[in-house]
Symmetry: C2
Subunit: 332 residues, 2 copies
């Protein structure tokens, strides 16, 4: 994979690019064709949490979302990697209660909140994080909703469970490829591998879904709209997905994934893109995402949220500017 990866991000200090990130990026149009690419479009990668809107498709296509009266906010949470702020924890807690379920029914594991104020408060009160704080708890509430709708058992993260079988089927349909294998994700759910082209094709499907008919297209359009309407639920304060979604000059759905994955869905153009930093660096994926949004004309290069990602000033412990994080020239 690395042999064919292309430079996507540079970390400068003084006159030297001290570190350089390689990666893959593919932009697809609404027919699934590649408009532009960097690195290797055929590289097989786990999209990690960037595939959450794919994993949420069966929640809508099955009729579960309507049967349980899920709101746009809940659909956004099903696609979220949230920071476990009170906003997110409370919403997932209420969702589980609506299902007649509770925190122990989740299978995502306990993860410390990434909300700074809540984190300090929990340390002061010797409080321990629970599964509701896990960044994937909204996705898992979606899994539980689908599982209940299907009348399936409680171990919804097993690869053979009806919920995961439905997720795999939807994943393969919208990526347009069979998945060769899966890995177990940080939240214990299977995460299916696909090519960079496959994932970009899926993002273009989401971007053009509102112009298409059919159950899958309707579901993709609803999930895209839900993400765009609820940027704070998709991630949280100060996070790249949220800040960049609020900064774009047109509606865009953005979603980060672990190990340097990132996707964008641009419904007004019917195009989508997928990025993978080959070394797994989040700073590189965020920088490259901002750069491609600027390149496409969907994001102002001078917006503060843009500058924080694609011309990030690096300061030291005394506040002295020591360098910057910039997109590789080939992306601009």
């Amino acid at each position: 994979m690395t042999q064919t990866a292309a430079p996507i991000c540079e970390v400068w200090r003084g006159p030297l690019a001290e570190s350089v990130h390689l990666g893959h990026a593919v932009i697809c149009d609404d027919t699934g064709q590649i408009i532009e690419s960097w690195g290797n479009p055929d590289a097989v990668v786990y999209p990690r949490s960037s595939s959450k809107m794919l994993q949420a498709l069966p929640l809508v296509t099955s009729g579960a979302a309507d049967a349980f009266g899920l709101t746009s906010a809940q659909l956004a949470l099903a696609c979220a990697s949230h920071e476990g702020a009170p906003l997110h924890v409370d919403a997932v807690s209420r969702w589980l209660a609506d299902l007649g379920l509770a925190e122990p029914d989740l299978r995502c594991g306990a993860q410390p909140t990434r909300d700074a104020a809540l984190k300090r408060q929990m340390i002061k009160t010797d409080d321990s994080p629970c599964q509701l704080h896990n960044n994937c708890s909204g996705k898992h509430a979606g899994f539980l909703t689908l599982g209940k709708h299907l009348g399936a058992g409680p171990e919804y993260i097993d690869p053979d469970h009806p919920v995961q079988v439905a997720c795999k089927t939807a994943f393969e349909e919208v990526t347009g490829q069979d998945t060769p294998y899966f890995g177990i994700d940080g939240c214990s759910a299977p995460n299916h591998a696909t090519t960079m082209h496959g994932m970009a094709r899926a993002m273009a499907f989401f971007a053009s879904a509102h112009k298409k008919s059919g159950t899958m297209a309707n579901a993709a359009a609803r999930l895209t709209a839900a993400m765009i309407a609820n940027p704070m639920l998709v991630a949280g304060e100060g996070r790249a997905c949220t800040e960049l979604m609020q900064a774009t000059s047109e509606p865009v759905a953005l979603k980060t994934g672990a190990e340097g994955y990132f996707i964008a869905i641009l419904p007004e153009r019917g195009i989508g893109f997928a990025i993978k930093a080959a070394d797994g660096a989040t700073r590189a994926a965020e920088c490259a995402t901002a750069a491609l949004l600027v390149r496409l004309g969907a994001l102002d290069a001078d917006h503060p949220a843009t500058l924080r990602r694609m011309n990030t000033t690096v300061t030291n412990w005394r506040g002295v500017e020591t360098g910057s994080i910039r997109p590789a020239p080939g992306l601009m």
Copy 2:
């Protein structure tokens, strides 16, 4: 730089190397010749905190260390990137008091402690970190000692200050090269760039210094011995430098640097090596360091401290094993 970088570390999840790190590594013998290398030995890089023992050379060669009666522990702290545990903070605080100085005389900036217990305690008591907690405070105490010995002014981090001029001279002597430029480090001190070969040559000089005569060799030998005698002061509990120095089957001095740098000094063999993860990833540099120590026969591959770096089991929030971090095959 990246064009010629070689794979050094792989991050596996299920059947896929999800992320791959490229980098440079050079092993030198006591004549400064390359024994073995990966990537580009001529790549110019900032060694960051891996150069702290070079920055401590003038402290000894000037006679300042003896004039102020510095102990082996204090010399180790001058080379340290410590975690700001009470052990480190108290030792640097006493050192400054011995000089008739105090925390405000430091110029490294305040950095939160990385000691988990102290961090929790400081949050509970609403305590703020100070410059003593900065991982470089020992290096800066060394700078202040040298400055006082030279009768120089308080702004010891200015590139033209006698302390930094002496550091640059020593750096160029032991790397065997003029430095092309410097960057400002996280602690505000200049950090001089050199090639991977230059840094590995310097490490081999430190490794063979105890067999050589001269002021510079004596200083290098004393600093190497001080690091080896005080692994807890060089870094801290659970950290790679400390754990691997305690795990090696022969005396070895190890030192991490920001942005994926790492060095090793093996005095019994008179050889040293330098590693840079081209993307700046610490996990890759630590993994490759352990792999080269095993390759050289200085570290047991099955030691728990080794396994934590070069066959690191990745577990998720439920404790399920999802993958591993391994050296690239070419390093083994």
